[in-house]
């Protein structure tokens, strides 16, 4: 790097999370020189810590695992047009983990393939008024080999036979599931009584030593924290390590991509980025791959206007940042007669896919599973029955008698996207580097809530059949759900008037600009999204290298 900070590489990958890590590995292994710019810090397990008040599962105070409190806010516009400046750890920010590894450093690691019908929502259900429900330009079969690659190269444990009932698949999971605990035993009983099909939750976790790393020791702090045994598989300890091992990849933490640079013909020439001290640099590249997460990738494209595209790259049809979606969770809680919390992580264990699709009278549905080990403070904040005093002797007694008895069952409800749920640039507010921040507005489509009610009803039914003496649920509000599962802002499609990238992840009109993160999801599935992000990144990067 010279004094002005100019450097030249084959490819710049922006973001080191689920999609960016995969892209970096595929490119570096294909012989390309790759620079990975990561906005967050490179934190150790100890630095991330086990802070129950500052984590991505229950945030009461600024995160320890990014985004940093001082990085800058977002602006959130509510249904009545009221706007609010929201800091990274506050409700409404819709953040994901911001550190090396992105969401995969702290995630719960549920490793679901989307179901075939998740790719064909519009032709399966029709398009509700006001929504932008659409089919993907590719189907399950296009992605199947890449799901397999993600499962083997990143490492998933699961039950092959049970999985084969839901997905056409060529190869088993590389590892068998983790042992089942008390929650699973109770839910198996309930599912048998109801005649529902169940399967162990597939996890990007080593149930046995794999990839040169140890097996899970079943601690109680899986979701929202880093893994003490390095048994949870994410970008940081698999694909990014592989990329770096080639000697052709370089990872720069605390390096914020500010703007994509273009020549007058529309060819992307590089990336301008800001280092820790605030100094600007430019990395020149043949190819640029955006993998900054759905909100930040859209922001980056919008922050890169040119004469030809005054509203940002790929945005001449006002599509960048629209169809912002995530998952509204529908759930129920049940109070069991016997303890079901056995103190063994990760906690989440048994699922049913019976209600992801083809439910009477609603669009889509959701996978249902039990919950990760619940932190005591989170239990107090979220799991208590309605009507119980929030404090005092009765509250303390309830906590004591029921922390180990109350079980949560829920799932990510397939959202019905709409174009008014979106992220734009705020005209006034800037972050600590002086870059315009994201301005979020809109809400999920009301149909998603109807589906959510249906799913919460099934969750309740399952708990009662499993022996709960009572069960309760609450409605999800009509709002944006674009936090950890954020997606959809650069949707994939063949028509550049209604999409941002083509079926290979390439931004329409830009031969050398790609998006390889959850932004490209047309719809976000009735299951957790990360394995799909990884599979798509493998597909996009492999094709890019084949043509290059």
């Amino acid at each position: 790097m010279r004094g002005t900070g100019l450097m030249r590489v084959d490819a710049v990958v922006i973001g080191s999370g689920a999609g960016g890590g995969v892209a970096a590995a595929v490119l570096a292994e294909a012989g390309k020189h790759v620079l990975v710019l990561e906005r967050g810090r490179d934190l150790t397990f100890e630095e991330i810590g086990r802070d129950h008040l500052r984590n991505h599962r229950l945030t009461r105070y600024p995160h320890r695992s990014g985004p940093d409190y001082e990085d800058g806010p977002r602006v959130v516009v509510d249904a009545t047009g009221g706007e609010k400046v929201v800091r990274p750890h506050e409700p409404g920010f819709h953040g994901n983990a911001t550190l090396v590894g992105g969401g995969t450093r702290l995630y719960g690691a549920q490793a679901w393939r989307f179901l075939p019908a998740d790719f064909t929502m519009a032709s399966t259900y029709g398009v509700p008024a006001g929504s932008s429900l659409a089919d993907w330009p590719i189907g399950y079969d296009d992605l199947e080999p890449y799901y397999e690659r993600a499962e083997w190269e990143i490492g998933v444990c699961g039950d092959h036979a049970a999985g084969s009932r839901h997905w056409r698949r060529a190869r088993p999971y590389p590892m068998s599931p983790l042992p089942e605990g008390l929650q699973a035993a109770a839910l198996r009983r309930g599912a048998a009584a109801l005649g529902w099909d169940v399967l162990p939750v597939p996890l990007l976790i080593n149930s046995v030593p794999y990839g040169g790393r140890a097996a899970c020791t079943r601690c109680q702090h899986c979701v929202g924290f880093a893994c003490p045994a390095d048994a949870k598989n994410g970008s940081h300890n698999t694909v990014l390590s592989r990329a770096l091992a080639t000697g052709r990849a370089r990872l720069l933490p605390e390096a914020v991509a500010e703007r994509l640079e273009c020549d007058p013909s529309g060819r992307v020439t590089g990336v301008r980025w800001v280092d820790r001290s605030g100094a600007r640099h430019v990395a020149e590249a043949e190819v640029v791959i955006c993998a900054a997460g759905a909100i930040e990738t859209a922001r980056l494209l919008q922050n890169s206007p040119t004469r030809r595209e005054p509203h940002g790259l790929g945005n001449n049809h006002d599509q960048v940042g629209r169809h912002l979606q995530g998952h509204a969770y529908a759930w129920a809680l049940g109070e069991m007669d016997e303890p079901v919390h056995d103190g063994l992580g990760p906690g989440v264990s048994l699922a049913t896919l019976d209600f992801v699709h083809y439910n009477d009278g609603v669009i889509g549905g959701a996978m249902l599973a039990d919950e990760f080990t619940v932190l005591p403070l989170a239990f107090w904040a979220r799991n208590l029955p309605p009507g119980l005093p929030r404090w005092g002797a009765r509250n303390k007694q309830y906590m004591r008698d029921n922390y180990r008895r109350v079980m949560r069952v829920g799932g990510p409800v397939q959202e019905i996207p709409n174009p008014e749920a979106r992220t734009r640039l705020d005209p006034q507010v800037r972050d600590r580097w002086g870059i315009p921040v994201a301005r979020l507005s809109g809400a999920t489509h009301p149909e998603s809530l109807r589906t959510g009610d249906f799913i919460a009803g099934r969750a309740r039914e399952w708990l009662l059949a499993s022996g709960a003496r009572r069960a309760w649920a609450a409605r999800a509000p009509l709002t944006l759900h674009a936090g950890q599962h954020q997606s959809g802002t650069c949707r994939m499609g063949d028509d550049e008037r209604t999409s941002v990238v083509d079926r290979w992840g390439r931004v329409h009109g830009h031969d050398n600009l790609y998006v390889a993160d959850a932004s490209v999801h047309v719809t976000n599935g009735g299951v957790n999204p990360v394995l799909t992000v990884m599979a798509l990144a493998f597909r996009t990067a492999e094709r890019l290298c084949a043509d290059w």
Partner: protein, 135 residues
């Protein structure tokens, strides 16, 4: 915080998490947690806490002719529940119910949060509910 406010705070904490076979909030270290937080994340709320505790004290004197810490536990609970439902007898500089809700949240953080944050000494609340952490 004045000695009077500190005494009221201790009594409020032990009303929110009273002693039974397990320690009360103050016995479990909630005041240590709060002291740490007032130098940190809750620094901006010190004046809010001071004014709120004064108002709680004034409510106790107005209703019972005695300071909040001197009231029997049942009366203290009754008073905080009244404030929580919006029933105030003296002027408040801000919403009394919101004050109680805020304090309850912080007390629970100190009681059920991880010991690394200064409260929940020896993970006593975790042992009470059965959240036992291995390595």
């Amino acid at each position: 915080m004045t000695p009077g406010q500190a005494a009221t705070l201790g009594a409020v904490v032990d009303t929110i998490v009273p002693a039974d076979d397990y320690p009360s909030g103050t016995e479990a270290g909630v005041l240590d947690y709060l002291a740490g937080q007032f130098g940190r994340d809750l620094a901006d709320l010190r004046a809010y806490y001071g004014a709120g505790l004064d108002a709680v004290e004034a409510e106790a004197r107005e209703r019972h002719g005695a300071g909040f810490p001197e009231l029997p536990p049942g009366r203290r609970e009754e008073l905080l529940r009244a404030l929580e439902s919006g029933d105030t007898r003296v002027p408040w500089p801000f919403d009394a119910a919101a004050f109680v809700e805020t304090v309850v949240g912080h007390v629970m953080e100190g009681f059920y949060g991880d010991p690394g944050n200064g409260g929940n000494h020896d993970a006593v609340s975790w042992r009470m509910i059965g959240f036992e952490v291995g390595d």
